[in-house]
């Protein structure tokens, strides 16, 4: 602004120096009225300024400013509303996530329980089966042992009979004469013991 006015001053000097008729004119204008200082135009300027500025003020106050204020208000409300909604939605989403996680944890726990139960049941069943199998095997074993013992007894008895017969035959062959059955049995018995 200072620069501008300095320019103006120097420019005016220059203009006055170069164009003498301009200098005369502006000097004359200073006396007859440099336009902005010509008081004969003041009433007209003041009247028309009052009319135009007054109407402008009323127009802005009644029509334009309420309208722009309304636009801004509506926008602010809308933004606040949208932010509220966004916050609410976020809360809902958070709740959903929390519920989901809880459900997941519960499901995992339940799965563990089920797994454990299944494992336990399987173990119990396996044990029972093994026990029954073992019992059966034992029973079979016992039976087999009994049979073996009876077979052995029978065999041993047979062995005794065979020995008696053989002894009797041998005595008969060697000595001649018959060996009665009871003494042969007693002899075999004595040898066996």
């Amino acid at each position: 602004m200072f620069v501008a006015s300095a320019f103006a001053a120097s420019a005016q000097d220059a203009a006055e120096a170069t164009h003498t008729e301009t200098g005369v004119a502006s000097e004359g204008a200073h006396k007859a009225g440099f336009p902005p200082f010509d008081s004969s135009t003041f009433p007209s300027q003041l009247l028309w300024l009052a009319i135009t500025f007054g109407l402008f003020y009323l127009f802005l106050k009644r029509v334009v400013l309420p309208r722009i204020g309304g636009i801004l208000e509506v926008r602010r409300d809308r933004i606040a509303q949208d932010l509220d909604q966004a916050a609410r939605m976020k809360e809902e989403a958070d709740q959903a996530v929390a519920a989901y996680e809880q459900e997941l944890a519960e499901a995992r726990k339940k799965a563990n329980v089920i797994g454990q139960e299944a494992r336990d049941a399987a173990k119990v069943e396996a044990d029972a089966e093994r026990r029954s199998v073992e019992k059966e095997l034992e029973a079979k074993l016992g039976e087999a042992e009994k049979r073996i013992a009876s077979i052995k007894d029978a065999a041993m008895r047979d062995v005794g009979t065979i020995a008696e017969d053989t002894a009797a035959s041998i005595v008969q062959e060697l000595v001649g004469g018959r060996l009665d059955k009871a003494s042969a049995a007693a002899a075999v018995k004595a040898v066996k013991q």
Partner: protein, 249 residues
């Protein structure tokens, strides 16, 4: 005459009107006041007519000027000062539009006449004084007695405060008037150099490039000045209104 830099400020009567011996003619100045008001009013009215939730470019300009002035007033005069918002906004838009319209070649600059800027400044100071006394009664006079001043220098300080208060309308009006006047004279003088040097032949035409560049540069500067002066006028209005709202400070 073409090269007279003062010619652009001349007032010519378009429709002579005389009431009670006073000249109330509709002049070129009156016409440009009407143009200023119509242009500013129509711009603000038409750009906001769609009331878009998402503003277009032009609607943004209107909204930005609204919020610009509103924040300016709220910052300097507080929320109580917002009752003067239509007044400050009207002044800002009027001065801005008058300054900008004046930058068109052959257009008259309303604010280059001291009586117009002085009338606006008096309107501001008048509002301050009337509202100050209406709202605070004689408490408004506390404006001239700053708090925390030692008793012995109070008369001196009060004198200074009164003088500074009385000089406000003068400084407010002369600042705007002188800036507009000086800017337009400068522009006209440099533009005049271009034509008068071109008349001197080939050398003159070559030499005329310099003032031409200056004219373009000053036109850019004048757009800045047009906005700055409207802004300064509005800011000072806000600060003076703050005195009316809070005279104790």
């Amino acid at each position: 005459m073409a090269n007279d830099p003062i010619h652009q400020f001349q007032i010519s009567k378009w429709i002579p009107i005389e009431i009670g011996g006073l000249d109330f003619s509709f002049t070129n100045a009156s016409a440009f006041m009407v143009a200023t008001v119509v242009a500013a009013g129509a711009f603000l009215f038409l750009t906001t007519s769609s009331r878009g939730l998402v503003p277009g470019r032009l609607q943004s300009i209107s909204e930005m000027s609204y919020e610009f002035v509103a924040s300016m007033l709220r910052d300097s005069a507080g929320s109580h000062g917002m009752r003067f918002f239509p007044f400050v906004f009207s002044i800002f838009m009027f001065v801005l539009m008058a300054n900008l319209l004046g930058l068109f070649p052959y257009f008259f600059t309303v604010t280059s006449h001291i009586i117009v800027t002085f009338a606006l400044a008096l309107l501001v100071i008048g509002t301050v004084v009337v509202y100050g006394f209406w709202k605070h009664g004689f408490g408004f006079l506390k404006l001239f007695v700053p708090q925390g001043v030692p008793g012995i220098v109070v008369p001196l300080v009060v004198l200074i405060e009164i003088v500074s208060f009385l000089s406000r309308p003068v400084s407010l009006s002369v600042r705007l008037f002188a800036n507009m006047l000086a800017g337009h004279i400068t522009l006209k003088v440099f533009a005049g150099f271009v034509t008068s040097m071109s008349a001197l032949g080939a050398v003159g035409v070559a030499g005329a490039v310099l003032p031409l560049i200056m004219t373009v540069a000053i036109t850019g500067l004048e757009f800045l000045v047009a906005f700055m002066q409207a802004y300064v006028f509005a800011v000072l209005t806000c600060m003076y209104l703050n005195d009316a709202v809070h005279p104790g400070h």
